[in-house]
Symmetry: D2
Subunit: 413 residues, 4 copies
């Protein structure tokens, strides 16, 4: 949330409308049935994303700050609260995919109702309420990315390999050789620099000490990953963390998620259906365990979040990093500092020194997840335009890989 | 399947059309999303039932007996084979609910395609193929009942208590006192008597010996079940089989399935939504364990399948036992020998002496399930008209209760 | 339990002493640690068997019928009650193997204490108490067999293949060809004939009707089983019950329990350690699923319990059927009607017509297990001398195979 | 391992003998059966600890560095390798408790054999081999602590509450008020300072930046923990991390491990049996989740490992921190900087900048566990004398609490 001592951005209504509209665009290719399914407990149905982001605005803004506002449906908050204990009992996360009603159209009506009420009240909001609106917009942007990763997971459950939207032709050729950028270490500052929106977990900005290191100038590619597989990467315990090796064995992992091998040919399932491996493009859908093992195999290691931010702190996500319903959602591999895939770091997701969660129930947003997860930096091909920034701290458990996750190497200088 | 030495019924095309049409009527109140969900691995999505029954006709009749027939879609048999090992690999049963595509409309088109092809070819079918058509009709009738039980289970997952179709007003009052009918025992014949269709497991008809016994003249009611609960039925281990008590404890069972208690008032979830308990109507959705424990509590026992058939062998399911999309699907409690709810017997589902499964892959229909399940006799409010007969052997595992299962008492004379 | 209208056997004290002594002999080769382990929840530690059988006498005889008897240790009944709900709370079955104290020696002292008290009081017991003593003796004999099967399971967990006691040289050669005995069917009587001890589940004796059938004159051998395996028995779904095939797949079953293959040679783990397959000896440690699939592969079926008893009703277990600490415990294959291995029947374990459990808590002995299990007839190499009889109804779940279970074929005549 | 550029300590043989002897002393109160059991997969049998520590010396020193040494038993390395992938296949960790043979006495003989061989060869060892001996001694000291925590877990499985060794009288009274020590932050150095033995994960010593903070002058006590419980600590989701609250709910946690409540009185199970709560003594056997929730409840937080080491870097574990078979093993609460219980920090167990694992298979000792665990600093009442040091990095998963784990509070200054 933006700090309250800052001027609210003048274009809040425009941002709100644009973000709400993009979510509907993302849902356009889906049937009610597509939007109802939950492929696994980490993911949520598309319909649920549409409703939950709406519930966020309805609850923390309309209900709390608009006198006389009546809930669209009193039974729905139970269904569409995600994890806010402060909002009371709610539907079990693992059961979100068993709710065929309300329909997708009814949820669209819910969105329209909330949008109308919020836009009508917006001009009168106090700065702290405007900050909550801004938080809600960024919240919805996060769910836009989850929407896409969850639809990918959903369609992947179907043996018929359905297509969400058409993609470009399969890219051929290989990536340029990996280059390394040196950093001399020393004291650096990381965290939100106060020039724009940030989540509480990015604050406070603070100094930290680094040793000299080098960092790769691009992500690991699908072609390089195929070489790792060819070299026995998934069958060599010495390359793996103990937990990682147990995960490989228990789940019989032998490739990134969504990759499959038929008659000796590897393919991967994408939002544009099943495609051949594209050697020059970044590998995605890998777990922390895989990223870490690959780095060891490559004689390198993962960067820490501080190292990453020291290097990319002044960079923007590259131009290809945008998302609309007409764009192919896949790593585009165009040159640029970051933005094709979230980059696993070797840093645990823990509070910055002096961290304090937001006041109120929205304080459950980040802080209570600071245990057992790793930080990912950057952004991905599924991150909406304008949502990426260098201080962003994305976080997932080390075994999770249904996001667009990739790896960039680092090494001691 | 009808025995091959018998004349095919003249109205086979009419039966086919009526049955296929009824299935579509059952699906009419459902959205694509409703029809996609699978509430638990024992149940299947409505859409799957529509497609699987069609696959049965397409595979065992059109593909096998109509030269030149082309499959509607070559990828679909993998999705819609249920358990026929003879037909090769298939989609995992527990994952049937993750298939949002094909849509409900596409499956309706599949049905129309197969219906047209089958009706066109029907006049030329040899008697054994006509017998397979008859088997397919009865197969689809079984799935009509499963369709309803599975939709009930699906809608029950939704905290909003959705309604499949409206029902009659809640019945008040209590049932007449239980009466007992005596049978003198001795040698009786059970099994298919050759006057109509039967499944292979109902054959051969054979003699068996009975001891004198008495059987109740009606099913146990919801009101009587409430008395059992009130008397601590679910917390008295001495009433239960060992497996039953473990099931009660592991699952924290304290009422029939779909019953719930709020503020001291019990309700049950039905196809017409949540309703008050109706004391005069038969209790349904109970497991074998519960039926058996209730009988012990009542100083009685369950009838064996031979006892049941000795008593009801010449009776018809009562007039209320019909099913169409306009009828309420719930025990109607009108007088008549049977038909409100499937009646658990104390007999294991095992082969009759001399049993031989059907030839070919359809021989997997019944015989391979003869282990660990109990026989249920009669029919239920969800059984389609014309599908019930006294020799019918329905079968489920002792813990299963998502069917319309009830209990009729018996005792030694 | 012996019926109360019968004269108690005059040698009850002698029987008691002999049975109690044999149990101690069985334990002689074991260390305290050996006797403490529980290999899986179906089995129990040897120490537990020694204590539980003692608890049975202490509870149902000394505590209930000997005024002034003081429990050896008031905390022990909680540990050594098996499943008698009427005796209240007890230690969880699956946790029996976590009790290193009391030691084996302390349990021997417990046995001596109870033995002394019981033998002192025995002369004054009323007939119904003498009947309970007789029941306790047969109860302990059952546990002697379980003791051996559970020690086999325990030692099998140890990769070092430890030996319980030495066995004879490995038998070579093959069995004589299988012969068939015909029975004309008709009305036969089965169940306890009143000439000796029986459990309640063997009563009442009653008539039943049989169709003509044939039954094999010996058990299926290890050599024949190897042929079944060689012929793809474990990889042909059409041979298996549906539940059986799921069990094969889920557990990756490819041989009887305790068989292992190294460098193409099959061996089996026995109480005398790991041995080569002995082709002429009966196969043991097979599940109902395996027995049933084998029979189908062999073009036969399993006998029903009534068929089995109709044939063997007047036979005795053969002479080799004895058990003492000096004898090898393995199928001896000597000629004789039965006794090498328990024989799976195709009959579910259900109450005989008119069955009534024993009065009181000992009524939990059999009746509450009448669900989901199959009857096994005969006896095994581990059944103590004098415990076998033709009316005996042993029972296990279809997947269980840690007992000495085998298969005899039958077929319709 | 000691750095190779350092002089080996002159008293290596004496250290070796003392450590090996203490392990035997710890086992003296145990029966073979006690020493065989494994209470849960995180813990190991006492017998296994005795053998595994011996296997470590036999493998990495005698086998690798003493020409002509013959293994005591060639089958045993399979049983007693813990997790060293470089040593090949091994017995599954979760099955360590199913090995009744070899007996405790046979394992004592194994120890004697290896000790004799090692002490005979010790004078001729090169410095790097002497370093491995030193590593083995520290490895065995770690297992001495695990031995005690695992025996506690084992005896706790027994409803009879057995005693490992007698303890002192129950302490009454309450602790002195909590005081706070301030640290000004700034750049500090942490990690091994090169003055003694260290594990690889304590290296390299490196600078880090701290903000000003305060740290408590003693551990949280049992009395304070009781107040947390009384105040609803275990039923207030807002106090907990998200994973922690799920853990509380899934496991129905309502107190530290080993605490039990009967008739309103809380007790805890200890190595001296079940005891009353001792309010002045440190609380132990708490998970990271509990420590973190308690800190939030108390308006504080956990210290980071760098903060902890900045404060205690020059302190020694207090005098009470010793362990021999005659001493009570429980928090003694005597004044001193640390040593009663391991102190959870808020730092993930991750590599120090520049970390490199040891060469060879012993490099699996620490590095491969750097994922998902938290660092604990200090030492406990079960840590052997001489094994504690301020740079020590102990590590466990956030849900684990069978160690002697406690909590010390910190807060921002």
């Amino acid at each position: 949330m933006a700090r309250s001592d800052e001027q609210p951005r003048p274009d809040l209504g425009k941002s709100y409308t644009a973000t709400r509209s993009l979510t509907l665009d993302l849902a356009a290719p889906l049937s009610d049935a597509d939007a109802t399914l939950q492929p696994h407990p980490d993911a949520s149905p598309a319909k649920w994303h549409l409703a939950h982001t709406t519930w966020f605005f309805e609850t923390f803004i309309l209900r709390d700050h608009v006198p006389g506002y009546a809930l669209f449906d009193e039974a729905w908050p139970f269904l569409f609260n995600s994890y806010y204990e402060g909002e009371g009992e709610r539907h079990a996360r693992a059961c979100r995919g068993m709710i065929s009603r309300p329909s997708l159209d009814e949820i669209r009506a819910y969105r329209a109702h909330v949008d109308a009420a919020l836009l009508a009240a917006l001009p009168g909001f106090a700065p702290e309420v405007r900050s909550l609106v801004e938080l809600g917009i960024h919240h919805e942007q996060q769910h836009q990315e989850l929407f896409l990763t969850d639809i990918l997971a959903t369609l992947h459950e179907n043996p018929l390999d359905p297509v969400y939207m058409d993609g470009p032709a399969v890219a051929e050729g290989s990536a340029p050789p990996l280059g390394w950028t040196r950093h001399d270490g020393g004291e650096v500052e990381i965290g939100d620099d106060g020039t724009g929106f940030s989540f509480d977990c990015e604050r406070p900005r603070h100094p930290t000490l680094l040793q000299p290191f080098e960092i790769a100038d691009r992500l690991v590619t699908q072609g390089e990953w195929a070489a790792f597989m060819q070299d026995g990467g998934y069958s060599t315990p010495g390359l793996w963390l103990s937990d990682g090796w147990a995960w490989v064995c228990d789940n019989k992992v032998e490739s990134p998620l969504y990759w499959a091998c038929e008659d000796g040919h590897w393919t991967r399932f994408t939002l544009s259906g099943r495609r051949a491996i594209e050697p020059a493009l970044p590998v995605t859908h890998i777990s922390y365990y895989e990223a870490e093992a690959y780095a060891r195999w490559a004689g390198a290691r993962l960067p820490t979040e501080a190292e990453w931010e020291a290097v990319f702190g002044n960079a923007d996500a590259h131009a290809g990093n945008q998302l609309d319903a007409a764009a192919p959602v896949m790593p585009d591999g165009t040159p640029g500092p970051f933005g094709d895939a979230w980059e696993w770091t070797g840093s645990a997701y823990l509070p910055y020194p002096g961290f304090a969660p937001e006041e109120g129930t929205v304080g459950e947003y980040n802080g209570k997840f600071m245990c057992g997860q790793f930080v990912l930096k950057g952004a991905s091909c599924a991150t909406p335009r304008g949502h990426a920034r260098a201080s962003y701290r994305n976080f997932f458990y080390p075994q999770q890989r249904w996001q667009f996750t990739g790896v960039r190497l680092a090494r001691n200088a």
